[in-house]
């Protein structure tokens, strides 16, 4: 009889543990997809990477699914401490070690992100206490989240990689101009128009900011007739990002015009570089 009772005890304990795992599905098996996560990546794997690194106290930034510098240093420190090659790449071994060392409650993290809550995911603190529900009230930060300086809650993919030196609003403004000026043009022509704006910013003969160039009186017809305020599509934005990243199909042009609609005779006196779609690009 005694033997049986001790067996029961073990069974009870075992089932408790199983239930415990069931309640907190802190997945060990289902960790990460097979990708090697590299700096600059975005997506669910990055969210998991950030959450896991924060869980064991390496990452103090916002869990936003964008692999930026903060994540990079956190991962490198982790790799150093765990005797891995320090390369900032989350490959198979790194992911395995990280998954073994940390917890990740996928449902919880994604729920917070989807709700736009501000939250942290430090280990050893009740996770529910680390959530600041999205509201306008300026409550004090929840426990463990002291280093979480991000003011912004983020939904998946709601933080974005941006080409150096430009904000999303700059890109939006340029996309507006490109769309207003060249929405009927081939993609290359749109990149070229965006490149012209950037060439003007660089040039000594024009204002030194994107807004200065775009709103210079008489510079763009789309500004003069209000077409700049049409809502641009994604293609126009992509064209702008390409131009910022260094594509210049215009051949360093600073002017362009549509020969069918150009009103100024002066513009014909500019040395012409090439024609893309309907636009002639000039120096």
């Amino acid at each position: 009889m005694k033997g049986i009772s001790s067996k029961w005890k073990w069974l009870l304990l075992f089932s408790c543990i199983t239930i415990g795992f069931g309640i907190y599905p802190e997945t060990r098996t289902n960790a990460f997809s097979s990708q090697i996560i590299q700096k600059g990546a975005v997506g669910d794997d990055v969210i998991e990477l950030q959450a896991r690194l924060q869980n064991i106290g390496y990452y103090h930034g916002k869990i936003d699914g964008v692999y930026g510098w903060g994540t990079y240093w956190a991962l490198r420190n982790f790799q150093q401490d765990f005797g891995l090659p320090i390369d900032g790449l989350a490959g198979t071994t790194t992911k395995q070690k990280l998954a073994n060392a940390s917890n990740f409650n996928s449902r919880f993290v994604h729920e917070q992100i989807n709700k736009g809550n501000e939250f942290t995911y430090y280990g050893g603190v009740d996770i529910e206490k680390q959530v600041k529900v999205k509201s306008n009230a300026n409550e004090s930060k929840s426990g463990g989240g002291s280093a979480n300086t991000g003011k912004a809650p983020a939904k998946p993919g709601t933080s974005a990689n941006l080409p150096g030196g430009y904000s999303q609003n700059d890109i939006q403004l340029m996309a507006n101009a490109v769309y207003g000026e060249a929405r009927g043009e081939p993609y290359t022509g749109q990149v070229a128009v965006a490149a012209v704006i950037l060439n003007r910013v660089e040039s000594a003969a024009f204002p030194n900011s994107i807004s200065g160039v775009i709103f210079e009186p008489g510079a763009f017809t789309a500004v003069a007739d209000g077409q700049i305020w049409l809502t641009p599509n994604e293609r126009a934005k992509e064209a702008v990002v390409d131009a910022i990243n260094g594509w210049d199909p215009s051949g360093n042009a600073e002017y362009y015009f549509n020969p069918e609609t150009a009103t100024s005779k002066w513009i014909w006196s500019r040395p012409q570089i090439k024609k893309i779609g309907k636009h002639i690009f000039c120096k």
């Binding site: 990708q35 280093a147 999303q168 210079e216």
Partner: protein, 452 residues
């Protein structure tokens, strides 16, 4: 009776229309005056700033000590930037008023570079002094012309809106004092000639081969250009493709071919520019919609490396990578004996659905790549590290070649470090120990739409 009612209604109608018309007219005038005033302010402000500029440059001529010269030159720099901003607000883009702004930026460059220099150690040399003198004379000329225009504007109550109208209706030839006056200013400035007056220390653009002149190889024909483009497109000449190639226009500074290959089956178009000299690809875009992510950034990197190898871009090293939705962008710089050469940069855009290369830009690389002799650092890395602010926690270090503020290529120690959550890239000159550049690296930005 009915007639009376109709008459009454008509009277009300006419009266109402008249009243409405008058309101509209008033509103229109108010807006016109508002716009006019903005232009007037910009113009009068410009002429004031040029006045000030002339005086300031004049007084620097008499100064000798660093203590007075540096602040005075800084002030000149500030004034030029104000004046530039005024020019940018005038409706002159379609008028050839660029030279004036160029002139302002020349003064700005000159004053900035001399103001930040340690004038005690390296005082103005004779050439710089004579540059300053000629800038003074030129500023005086412009000042005179601008004042003339200003006088006429004030005397005849000339309105900028009329200039605007003249430009809009294409009647630029009509007699317009403002346009004519400003054209005279412009003519004066263009008479000063290009950068040759600026002394040889200011060669920021000469470092780079802007016009692809020094590329090795012989000049290619149109046919060869098409062949090269096809190699990039991986298209067999059979099949449903339409190939077009055009030469550059006469106004271009360098010779290039623009090739476009339209694949009618997949309806995708490849556009590409190649230099005539040597037939190097300046850029290519093979744009299509990419709607899903199947491969990760690291695989994209491998694809990009394969691509670069295939097209003979050697000894490149990944500098930055980023994912924009379903597109991976990889930025490579060339690397020689462990020194990253930042000016030599090549960008590759990879579609993350099938890993194909949908964009490529070698513009920067072709302009700055050359056989360099990178010397060895004169100071040890330890000494360079000590030059860095002690609040920065140094995480990574290496060697790099960058173009500094003065437009010179300099060999530097490169440090990546952090202060709290921010990451900085710091370049310390490997010969002098001078801090050449400190950049705060960008973090990702939240999308504001979701914050409100």
């Amino acid at each position: 009776m009915i007639r009376n009612i109709v008459i009454a209604l008509l009277v009300i109608g006419v009266g109402g229309t008249a009243f409405w018309g008058y309101q509209e007219h008033k509103e229109k005038n108010a807006i016109l005056i508002n716009a006019e005033n903005t232009y007037q302010r910009a113009f009068h402000d410009l002429s004031y700033q040029v006045d000030l500029l002339h005086d300031k440059v004049g007084s620097t001529l008499a100064m000798n000590s660093r203590y007075s010269l540096s602040p005075a030159l800084t002030d000149v720099w500030r004034i030029t930037s104000e004046a530039q901003s005024d020019v940018g607000q005038l409706p002159l883009t379609l008028l050839p008023f660029n030279k004036t702004e160029e002139f302002l930026s020349k003064i700005a460059d000159f004053s900035y570079r001399t103001a930040v220099r340690d004038l005690e150690k390296e005082p103005l040399n004779d050439q710089e002094y004579s540059t300053l003198q000629s800038l003074y004379a030129q500023a005086g000329d412009i000042q005179g012309e601008l004042r003339k225009v200003q006088y006429l504007v004030l005397k005849n109550h000339l309105r900028w809106m009329d200039v605007e109208m003249a430009l809009a209706t294409g009647k630029e030839n009509s007699d317009n004092t403002i346009i004519d006056g400003l054209k005279t200013v412009e003519k004066k400035v263009s008479g000063y000639g290009e950068a040759d007056e600026m002394n040889p220390t200011f060669t920021s653009s000469q470092q780079r081969d802007e016009n692809f002149k020094n590329l090795p190889g012989k000049t290619i024909t149109k046919k060869e250009a098409i062949e090269t483009a096809k190699r990039y497109a991986h298209s067999k000449s059979s099949g449903n493709v339409e190939v077009k190639a055009e030469e550059n226009g006469k106004g271009s500074d360098y010779g290039f071919y623009s090739v476009s290959i339209l694949n009618k089956e997949s309806n995708s178009e490849l556009n590409m520019d190649l230099t005539k000299k040597g037939g190097y690809p300046i850029w290519y875009i093979n744009n299509r919609d990419v709607n899903e992510t199947k491969i990760d950034l690291n695989q994209a990197y491998t694809k990009a490396v394969e691509f670069l190898k295939e097209h003979d871009f050697s000894s490149l090293e990944l500098f930055e990578s980023a994912q924009y939705d379903n597109i991976g962008l990889l930025n490579f710089v060339s690397s020689e004996n462990g020194v990253k050469v930042y000016p030599d940069s090549v960008k590759v855009k990879i579609a993350l659905d099938d890993g194909s290369v949908i964009g490529f830009s070698a513009d920067e690389y072709l302009k700055s790549h050359k056989t360099r002799e990178i010397g060895t650092p004169k100071i040890p890395v330890k000494e360079a590290r000590e030059k860095i602010n002690h609040n920065v926690k140094i995480m990574e270090e290496g060697k790099a070649l960058i173009i500094n503020d003065l437009g010179k290529e300099v060999l530097c120690y490169e440090f990546l470090g952090t202060i709290k959550e921010d990451t900085y890239r710091i370049f310390i000159n490997a010969d002098t120990g001078q801090e050449e550049k400190v950049e705060k690296l960008k973090n990702s930005e939240p999308v504001y739409e979701n914050l409100i």
